[in-house]
């Protein structure tokens, strides 16, 4: 019996859906091996995680709290990835969005009328994220500087700079030495949904996903972006201005991550403090891949990823396991997903019974 991979005649639609779903279950199985090795029952662990993430309205709202920044950064990363621009700087762009929003609220409160303060803060957050992404984009477009390095390294610059701000000049003098800025005035808080911590960032994310779907699939700009991503040589030959697209796509990409940061600052912590950089910008990469760069799918995958984070916290509290169980599962999701990509273009054929004949030997 032999196993042979054969190229499919066309891309399998079932595989496009089955591979991410299948990968999820494979990652649960791999996780189970790990849990068994630490002598805990995987089933009860998973049940506890599921309950923690979806068990009640409140639990679900906490899942959304984690999912919202993942949605926005996931969308941002997807745009860049669509044109094979490896923006792994969503984390730094998110931090800059938060810093810019905080700056508006802390320093411009006297200049801007109260009702306008939050919109301006969000807008500047968007601009902050966009500019932070724009730098690497311009370098790439004009000098061909590798974006993987620049976006990644700029994350550290952003994170450390924000720390400098809330440990240093922006620290609340009445904060009992606690590292963080003053709390924002209540009129600059991002409205929350019901009695939960989930905020209207959710609505921003849904609207952004819908708009993005339209832009990517139905506009001339999205069409050109796709051509660049699939075949840059062809794009050049077709007269598409690649440099300009790189810059615009990255500005949009950074803008969405910046919005995520601004929402975190105004909706959750309500001040700039430790805990703005929780790694959402990195998880966004997994979100984008699992969603296969489809903006609508990003929303659902972000909820799944949020659930793993909340579920991880839950098992820490209830079962005394490390919260990183959730993060381990997130990571494990990517491997079967990448391997499974093979099945969209190839299929496995099993060949039974060989015609008898020895290997390259001459028969009388």
């Amino acid at each position: 019996m032999r196993f042979v991979f054969e190229k499919r005649q066309s891309v399998s639609r079932q595989a496009l859906v089955l591979v991410p779903v299948g990968s999820f279950f494979v990652s649960l199985l791999l996780g189970a091996v790990l849990l068994l090795a630490s002598k805990v029952n995987p089933l009860t662990t998973y049940a506890a995680m599921a309950h923690g993430a979806f068990g009640s309205w409140y639990n679900f709202s906490e899942t959304l709290v984690k999912a919202i920044p993942l949605m926005l950064t996931g969308l941002g990363v997807s745009i860049a990835f669509r044109m094979r621009f490896w923006n792994i700087g969503a984390e730094g762009q998110l931090v800059w969005g938060g810093v810019a929003a905080a700056w508006v609220i802390i320093f411009l409160a006297d200049v801007i009328p109260p009702w306008l303060l939050l919109p301006v803060a969000l807008l500047l957050g968007v601009v902050g994220g966009a500019l932070w992404a724009g730098g690497p984009a311009v370098l790439k477009a004009t000098l061909g500087v590798d974006e993987t390095l620049t976006t990644l390294l700029l994350n550290y610059v952003a994170i450390l700079f924000s720390q400098y701000l809330y440990y240093g000049p922006w620290r609340d003098p009445e904060g009992y030495g606690f590292p963080g800025t003053v709390q924002f005035p209540q009129f600059a808080w991002l409205p929350r949904l019901g009695g939960t911590r989930a905020h209207v960032g959710l609505i921003f994310a849904i609207v952004a996903a819908a708009l993005l779907w339209f832009v990517l699939n139905r506009t001339r700009w999205g069409f050109e972006l796709k051509i660049i991503g699939e075949n840059q040589t062809a794009a050049r030959y077709l007269g598409i201005n690649i440099a300009r697209h790189i810059v615009w796509a990255m500005l949009l990409s950074g803008a969405l991550s910046g919005l995520a940061g601004a929402c975190e600052v105004t909706g959750i912590s309500r001040r700039l403090q430790q805990g703005l950089s929780l790694g959402y910008g990195y998880t966004a990469i997994i979100v984008a891949w699992l969603a296969q760069l489809n903006p609508i799918a990003v929303l659902f995958v972000a909820i799944l990823m949020g659930a793993l984070l909340v579920g991880g916290d839950q098992v820490q509290m209830m079962m005394g396991l490390p919260a990183s169980v959730g993060i381990v599962l997130q990571g494990m999701l990517l491997f079967p997903m990448l391997a499974g990509g093979l099945f969209t273009e190839y299929r496995l054929r099993i060949i039974r019974a060989e015609k008898a004949a020895p290997v390259a030997e001459v028969q009388p």
Binding site: Q9, L238, G239
Partner: protein
Amino acid sequence: MNEPEAENTLKNPILEMRGIVKQFPGILANDHVDLELYPGEVLSLLGENGAGKSTLMNCLVGLYRPDEGEIYVRGQRVDIHSPKDAAALGIGMIHQNFKLVQTMTVAENIILGIGALPFVPDMDAVSRRIRELSARYSLQVDPQAYIWQLSVGEQQRVEILKLIYRGAEILILDEPTAVLTPQESHELAGVIKVMMAEGKSAIFITHKMEEVMEFSDWVRVLQHGRLVAVKRTAETSPQELARLMVGREVLFRLEKRAGTPGETLLELRDIHAEDDKGLPALRGVSLALHGGEILGIAGVAGNGQRELTEVVTGLRKVRQGRVLVRGEEQTNRSPLTMIKAGISHIPADRIGMGVVGDMAVSDNLVMKGYREAPLVEKGVLRPRRILKYARRLIETFRIATPTPQTRIKFLSGGNIQKAILAREISACEGLLVAAYPSRGLDVGATETVRKMLLEQRDKGMGVLLISEDLEELLTIADQIAVLFEGAVMGVCPAQEADIESLGLMMAGVRQTELASAPAIA
């Protein structure tokens, strides 16, 4: 020993393939194909693209395994699992794209991959043996030279030497003359004759009739995976073979009306440009192309053709010189400017540049027209209109595709080329740059492509046709210019051109030198 029934020949076949079946999803690539090869003889395997020639040979060299069928070498049943097994049986193949390491010497390449090699090979002995073989088969090549220093023709000699060095008795050559000048092809014919005289044998994969007639003793014609004819070359004609291959009569002479050249569409004045490595690729090229005219560019690949097309389409900057389109200055403009100036481009690298493989056929068909209404309005695409537009092109240009939504990479090479032609011709406004438009296409598709180019000419467009196929240039071009090492060796009207003088120009002799040579018949 088995005694296979030979067909009216006294010799026993050195190689026999019986009832070879190879199935791929959706297609039967080989359907019970038989093959016999006799020592000292050349067999041509003739067929259109996708007829199953390469599949059959890949089964023979162990790259594929046949689903059914038997292979006998020297009368004995064998089972070939890998190219190594094939080599052990004395079977070697020269692929269309040479498998040579550019940064290593000829001698190193020749011994590369030989299993039983001492840890420190005696390179002097290797070189000596190579020189010996070179002399015997008149395959001149310096064993110490690096591959990157060699011309394409010389590299092919290295490939042949590699097989001989390893003691190959059965040589398979995949379209060996595609990259050669006419003179080099004749030299190759000489080399083959010497080898055949020593009792070696060869299989030629080809779809060129001239090659079949010039090189082979026998010809087997494949059509849609099936063996449709076995002929002695001496007893057949190119016309008969073409009919057998395509399954219908082929027009070898295309109707070409006398051209009526119009205004000057494109003018190149003393163009100098560099290649990707920064080395001079065009050295003072001056050419003029008129409306209603096909200007053919002849030359062995790699003599500046690529750079020339890129300069005209805005993909490459010139260092010196001017590009004028309809008399207007268009030097060093962007590709988009050149498209808007009315230049269409059928690129040499179809898969890499001409299409986006993972996008739909319909998307690929509108990649030039999507910028304008009615396909786009206020920046928003109109999918229904795009589909309708694509359907029309698919029908007009007879592009065989399961659906307009099929990803274009799943189409055959000929249909991909038809799609590019459809897009470029329908968007063309004056000037068409066509690089090797019929390369690798079968007879039927080649005919279609040539007809389309002639139609464009008759409509008053100017066509810049880059081709390595002199037959093609003589058939459809009005003027032929020959490029050699980035310079134009000469330009002559196609009616007055003959293959011999074109061949000499392709080898670097200037037209003026040809004329000054004493004309003794």
